[in-house]
Amino acid sequence: MTTTEQPTTPATPPGIGGIGHSLRRREDDRFLRGAGRFVDDIVLPRMLHAAVLRSPVPHARIASIDTSAAAALPGVVAVVTGADLAAHNLAWMPTLSGDTQAVLATDKVRFQGQEVAAVIAEDPYVAHDALDLIDVDYDTLTPVVNPRQALADDAPLIRDDKEGQEGNRCYRWEAGDREATDRAFAEADVVVELDTHYPRSHPSPLETCGCVADVNPATGHATIYMTSQAPHAHRTLFALVAGLPEEKIRIISPDIGGGFGNKVPIYPGYVVATAASLLIGRPVKWVESRSENLISTGFARDYHMHGELALKRDGRILGLRVNMLSDNGAFFADAQPTKFKAGLFHIVTGSYDYPAAHVVTEGAYTNKAPGGVAYRCSFRVTEASYLIERLVQNAAYELGVDPAELRLRNFIRPDQFPYRSPTGFTYDSGDYARALRLAMERVGYDDLRREQAEAREQGKLIGIGLASFTEVVGAGNHKEFDIAGIKMFDSAELRVHPTGKAILKLGVRSQGQGHETTFAQIVAEELGIPATDIAVQEGDTDNTPYGLGTYASRSTPVGGAATVMVARKLRDKARVIAAHLLEAAEEDLEWEPGRFFVKGTPSRGVTIQDVAFAAYTNFPEGLEPGLEGVHYYDPPNMTYPFGSYIVVVEVDAETGQWKVRRMVAVDDCGVRINPMIVEGQIHGGLAEGYAMANMQFITFDEDGNCIGSNFMDYLIPTAWETPRFELDETVTPSPHHPIGAKGVGESATVGSPAAYVNAVIDALAHLGVRNIDMPVLPHRVWAAVRDAGGSGGGEQGGVPPAP
C-alpha cells in the first residue's frame, strides 16, 4: 500500500501516453532486430584501424622505443609514439579535474596498461600483428600500489612531469565544521568507529569505448563517432585539446551500449584516432578490447574511509567525523564538477538529523589507471552512503538497539524539509520513515527477527541488512556546478510539425535509459500530442542544443525540466493561436490534454494538431510563424531521491558463502514518468550493488600488477547468482522540479551495497564481527568467523600490500 502525492491514475489517456504510463519503448524496435548502430558498427569508406600498445609494467622510465619493424609490416599505414604527438603538442591532454594526462607516454609509464604507442593499419588483425613488433625498453621503478604508501615520506614520485609537484598528494578538500563537530563528540556517550575500504570497481558496460574519427582532408571538418555520454562537452574539449575550431567538429554519439560513467572521460584512444585521421586523411576506427577497458579507462571507487559517529545512549546521533583517502591513479581525471575534489562525498551525513559533521578528504596518485568518478556513483554518493549506513548499523549493535529502530529515531522528519545539512546540502523533500516502514512491512521484519533468533539457537545464520539512503542528483546549479568551466545546465529544443507530430532534441544522451520514450512522454503530458508521434533526438552535436550529457542521474532533473519548460512555452504560444482560430480571448480558453476549448462550451475547441497546422498556415497578425522553441534550464537545486532497502541472507559459516533470500527495495524518486522504465533502472542498480558486495572488484598485487583486468578476474554476476528483487515505492515529489520528478538511475547502486553487506554482518554480529570489506568473498567471511571478536581479522581486502 503506497500513499502518494502523485495521482495513481495518469492525467492523460493511454492514447496520448503522458506521465505515469508504462509505455513500451520506441527505441526497442531497432535493437530487437539487431539494427542498433553502435560505434563499432560504423564503417566508412577507406577506414583504417587503430590498435594501442600498452605498458606491461606499472612504473618505469621508457629507455627506448623501436617501431621500425612494425611500420614495415605490410598493411600498416603509421605507427605513432608519444614523441610524434609531442611534435604536435598532443602528447598530453587536460583532464576533467584540472590535471594533465598522457595521451601516449613520453618519459615514463605510470600505470600498467598505459598507452605507449599506436598502430594504424588496414585491418585490426594486421594492427595487432604490428603491436607485437614494437620494441620498448623499460627501466622499471618501484610501483606505488596504495595511497598510504603513496603519501609516505619515502614514496617514489609518480608525477615528476608536473612542475612543483612534491610528493604524491593530488588534492585535499574538506567540508563541514571541525569545531562544532569536536564539541558534539565531547557530548557523546558512545563513539562508533569504522575503517573500511570501498574497493576499486569498474563500470564495465558491455560495449567498450571507441570512436571512428573522420577528418575530411578537403574541408578540415572532423566528424567523430564516439562512445560519449556528453557529446557537446566532448566537442568543446576536443576543440581545446586538438586546436580544431569548434564549428569544425561534429561529435555523434550513436547508440551506446551502456555508459555508467565509463563514457564520460576523454581517452587517449580518441585523441590518437583523431590525430591519425587528421594526418593521414582517412577515417580511423579505434575500439578497445575488454582488457583495455578494464585496465585503463575510468574506474570507480577506491576510497579508504574512516568514519566516527557520535551518539547519545538513547540512540540520538550527535555528529559525524570522516577522514577519507582516495586512490586516484596516475592522473587526477575524475569526471566531476570542478569545485568538488571528492565529488558529492560530503553528503555522507546521510538521511539523519544532526547538527555537526566534519569531512576531510585527501587524494593520492598511485600507479594505476586514472579516474574514480564513475559506475553509477552520482559523484561519490555511493561511497558516502555506504559509509554512513555501515556506521549506523554498527552503532545499533554497539547500543543494543534494533537497526531499524535506530534509523527511525534519527531520520530527518518530513516537516524539516527543505533541510540544510551540516555539510551544506539543501535536501528538497523526503519522508524517510515512511519508506523504511513500508520496506519493513513488505519484508515481514518483525517475523524475520524472530526467525533469526530461533535460527541462531540451531547454529543457522540468517542476517537482515538495512540501508536507508539519500541520494543527491541533477547537477546542477551554476553557482556550484561546472565541468571544465562549463556550467551544468541542460537543454531541450522542440518543434511541432504542420501535421501535428513533433521532434524533440536534447542535450542529454541516453545509454539505455529510454529517453526516446520517457522524454516523449513529458511532451505528451504538456502538449497532449501522443508520445508515439514525438521523435526524440540526442547525441549529434550538429543537431541538438548544447547540454552536459547523461550521467549522475541528471537527465530527468535537468534535461527533463528543460523539456517541460520548452513544451510549456509552446503551449503558451499554442493558446494564442487557438484563441485566433476560435475567435475567442485567450483567457476564455481552457486546456485539456491535447485540446483548447472555450470555457462553458466544450464542443467549441481545437486540437493541438489543428493549432500546429495553423502555426504554419493561419497564424494571427503579428505572431511569429511556426511552433518551435528551445529552453536552457539551470536547475535551482539538486533533487534528493531516497529509499530503504532490506536484504535477508543466509550464511554458510563453513564455506563462507552467502545467499540472498530476499531483497526488498522501496524507492522514492518523486513523480515517475514511466514506472516500467524506473523499475528497470532499479533492477539494474540492485544487481550492480549485489555484484560489488559479492564478487566484483579490481585489485593489485604488491608488484603493481592489476588483478581484475579481464572478465575471468573481474566478476560480473550472471542471472544465476543475481538475486530476485521485490520493488515498492513511495512518491514524494520534488518541490522545485516542474513535474516533481527526481533522478533515479543510480539510486539502487548507491543504496544497495550497504544493505547486502549489513545483512552478512548482521548474520555474524552476535559472534562479534563488525566489518568485512567488499567484496564479501567466501574466504573473508570464513576468516571473519574464525577470528570473531576481532574486526574480520583486520583484513582490508583490496588494499594491496606495499612492496
Partner: protein, 292 residues
Amino acid sequence: MYPARFEYEVPATLEEALAVLAERGDDARVLAGGQSLIPMMKLRFATPAALVDVNRLPGLDRIEEVDGQLRLGALVRHNAIADSDLVRRRNHVMAAAAPWIADPLVRNLGTIGGSLAHADPEGDWASVMLACRGEVVATSGAGERVVPIDELITGMFTTSLRPGELLTQVRVPIPSRPNGGTYLKLERKVGDYATVAVATRLEVDDGRIADAGIALTSVGPSNLHAREAEQVLVGEHPGDGLFAEAADAAARAASPRSDVRGSAEYKRHMVRVFVRRGLARAAELAGRTTAA
C-alpha cells in the same frame, strides 16, 4: 583480441588427421571445442603455426556402455554429458560435474577429450577421471594406447601424449557394486574456475567401503589424486568420523596457493569441507543404488 596467423587443416577421417599430426609435430595444435585454445590464441598466449580441426572426424561423439565401461568419444561435448541419461545412471560424479563446467554456451562446444588433453590444473574433468579410475585412448599411426588418467596428466598443461597422438576416447569403469559420488565445486559465479573442487566416489560392499575415489581441483600444480585419503576409507564402515579423517588426509595432500580467491589456509579448509560433504553424499547415493 585478434589471433595471430596460422595454417588450417581440416581432415575428414581419423587416418588423415593422424597423418597431419605426425607430419606437423609440435608446430600443430589440435582444435576440438576450442573453448580453451581459442581464448589463449586471442590473447596470443598460444601462437601455433597450424591448427588441425578434428571436429569433422566421424564417430568420435558417441556415449556408450561397453564391457563394463562407460566409453565417451573425445568429441563428446560437455552438454551432451550433462544431458545424457546413460551417464546419469552409470556415473554420479560425471553427472554432477558436467553442468558446472564453464557456462551453458561453452558447454555446447567444449569437449571432454579436448579438456583432458589441455590439462588445465583448474579443469574439472581430470579430477573426475582420477576419482573414477578413468583412462583415455591415445591413437596414432602406430595404433592405440590405453593410458590411465594418473599417467596422462603430467603437469600444468602437460600430458604424456606423444607427438602424432590424438586422444580419441575416454573410458570409465562402471561399478558393479552399490556406489555413489559427486563433484562439489566452489565457484564465485557460473563460468569461474573452481576456487576448490572435489570429486568423491564410494563403492560399498556388504556395509563396508570396497573402493573410494577422491581427487582435488585447483589446489596443486595439477589435478590431485588424494590416494592417502582413499586408503583411509577402504575396508571401513562409512561414517562421519571416518569421513573427517579422510578429509584431513586429503587436506594434507593439497598444496593450494594463496591468491585473490582465498588464502591457502582457506582452500585447505574447503578441501576438508568438500571431502566430508562429498563422501556423505556418495554414501547416501550408494545406500540408494542397487548393483547395476
